[in-house]
Amino acid sequence: MSSTEQIATTDIAPVQKARKKRPFGFYLAGFWVALILFLAVFGDFLPGPQWDESFYDSLGVAPFHQSHILGTTLDGYDMYSGLVHGARLSVFVALVAVIVGGAIGTVIGVASAYFRGKIDVVITMAFNIMLSIPNLVLSLALISVLAYSDENNPASTTRRVGVLMLSLTIVIIPILGRIARGATLQWSSREFVLASKSMGTTNFTIIRKHILPNVAPAILAIGFLAIGSVIIVEGSLAVLGIGVPGGGSWGSMLANGRGNIAFSPWEVYLPAGAIALTVISCNWFGDYVRKALDQRESKI
């Protein structure tokens, strides 16, 4: 159905062009994400210097050096290897947090909105409570408590990474949970759900067949944005000294190099660039999914 009346709207926007093609940025983002995922998976098999070895004789060499393509830090660590290694940790931490947190949040959010009643009140309240504490503060508090150990041999590096991921996951749950709840509320009142219900379909089937497929794109869109924020939060935690220990992630590379910006600026620009590009790419995908979603909505 097409109606000219629907298009005719207002005069006050000047000439616009209809956009059909996927924008160039989409491919750029796709390329970057593919590259990062490739490095995250196969990075260790690629040739290059050790990422955690200090090269005493090449402290703070500039990029395009013959044996250190992206230069070294002032402490002698190879930038290229660091970035490749960091891709794994940063992406891993962010993906785990968003996927696990997103899954839990979705289940809770969908159930809350679908069943309504007291469950909904309680869960909404719980989300509000968690959201009332800023991301960074919440993860800081969680990490400082969970990574604390009274034992003689205190929290190990692996445990700290685990705690970091757990904290970020907890932070993600209410964010995506609220989105899932909102989307479910909107969809569960649609006719086809009511129709399905009236035919005696079980709640589980309705959720699986009718709700989830419709809620998923909204979650996906915000999920992409969340990956970006988690990478940034991880970096902030690294600046505060409780990120991934030992400079293994982009955030901690940046945190370690931040003081050297006047001496070896690439220590800041390269990891900041890697973070920014990844976040931009994730935002792009999120935006793309959201737009696609809007279009689908408008067609209905």
């Binding site: 955690d52 070895e53 200090s54 005493y56 402290l59 002032l74 402490d75 002698g76 400082s144 604390y148 009274d150 034992e151 003689n152 041999n153 205190p154 929290a155 190990s156 590096t157 700290r160 505060l240 000294g241 409780i242 220990p245 030992g246 400079g247 901690s252 945190a255 370690n256 931040r258 003081g259 050297n260 910006i261 006047a262 001496f263």
Partner: protein, 590 residues
Amino acid sequence: MTQSQITRSRVMRRIGVAVAATIAISTLASTGSQAASNPSAPKYGGEVKVGIFDTFPGFCVGNNPANSALMATRTVYETLFEKTRGNDFVGLLAKSASVSADLKTWTVELRPGIKFHNGEAFNAAAAVTNFMNSSGMNFLGVAATKGPAAATAAYGHTLGTAVPFQSNVLKATAVGETTVVYSLDRPQNDFLGTLYASGRGFVRAPAQLIDKTTCSGTPIGTGPFKAVSFTTDEMIVAKNAEYWRKDPVTGNKLPYIDKITFTNIKESSSRQAAVQRGAIDAAMFSGASEGQYIQALRKQKQLVEYKSPAEYYPSLWLNQGKPGSPFKSKNARLAVLSCIDRVNWVKTRTKGEGVVSKSLVGPNNIMYTTSGFQKYSVEEAKKYVEAYKAETGATELAFAGPTDTSSVSVGNAKFFQTMMAKCGIKYDFVTEEGAVIIGKAFNPSPAAGSHYNAYDSIAILLFEGTDTTFNLPFVLTNGFASTSKNPLAGIFRTSIGSILGLNHHSNTDVDKLFYEGQAAQSKALAASKYKAGTALLQTEAIMGATFYFSYELFAGKSLGGIGKTPIELKKTQRLMTNWGIDWAGVYKTK
């Protein structure tokens, strides 16, 4: 009144693993060049901003400000004695000291007429009150009559790690207004060092000490400045118009400046930028971790550098007392100590600002000896690892240690880890906040199954300056000697007295040698005993060291008079120390 400096949360950042070297740069060398730089006559007035790198934990006996925070604290407080550039002592609040022939009775004459900021008189009674509180004697008195809970309620706030530093003092007695007599348990030739305590033995007003609710928050001293306010990261002090000192050269009344703001600027780069742009008048830096900033500032013509001697000696403490630690085995200790690549450490981690250790302490310390100090050799280390495995049946030599959360500390730990890996030693580091590490390393009441020091090893700066007496509680088997007649020994031998020796070793020969050194009647004899003690620590591989370093202060041309106001003619105190400079004689040039 002595104070331990162990609670330096941020020392971890300036840590190392160390021993012996030559004097690289001395304070004295740098004084000459500054003499000509500020020809203007001293002026009164003006406000000064100073950047430091430590937080303010409070001002009571239990709060031990780390070095750069100590600089701010020391504008308010003064010690009885001050160290001179010639390594002697000059009286500050005290006028002179004398000792009995058996080295067991020290009589200190105080300067008359000095007042605390609250108007209280500084006199022999005040000095004794300070001793009674910081040594735990007051606590003991109440505990004996009313029980420990009452004692804690009354004096818990003044109980700190300072206690074992004064374990050799049995009694302090006020004789008249200006004389204090200290009666010692063992003979001690370097008692003035105990009173100085690396700049931490300063005198608080009795009114401050007595009120436990305000003790740590209300600093009252005799110094050139009065505390105006403080937060965790900032301390503001204002001119003490009634300050007792005059410039002995010009006769000018001190101090010159109206107000100083000390701000903790954690980020080294921010501190560097701030002093370089003149946003602050001066900033302090640590040569252990801030090499690149120091070197960048050194190139700035508008700044003057004040450098301390390289007499701060971070050490690697190998804990023999902790259950599960590998370091009961000498082979394990030898393996680790042989695996320290000091040259590359200094080059990489201090950017060349440190000095490679050749002994646990530096050459201007009386304890200095290269004898028995483990040299870097991967092959040797590997042999020791094998020997350790054969000896204990362990499959590998593995140990752990803490690092605070700063990038530099984590970087150090990472570097150390890679270094150990080259010798086949597995080192795990644990990232925790500085305060938490300090709490776990010096834990006076460990839970069941744990230990006073929770870590296998810890790299930390505890040895500073040239006074052996200040270093002893850390290397002895216990802060209270087994023969101690100190009434506190009974209570504190198992708690506070035993926590400072992070090695928790049981080699009493070490104690014996150092005690003999303190009892020696001649400097030569003392030196030989001390060196023997150090050599024993080194050959037995009880602890290790990597480098020595200096503290630096960079000041703009807006400040004059730094290091030019002696306490007494011909007795000039040190220019730059772990606690910075003497601010009494500093003035604003514009």
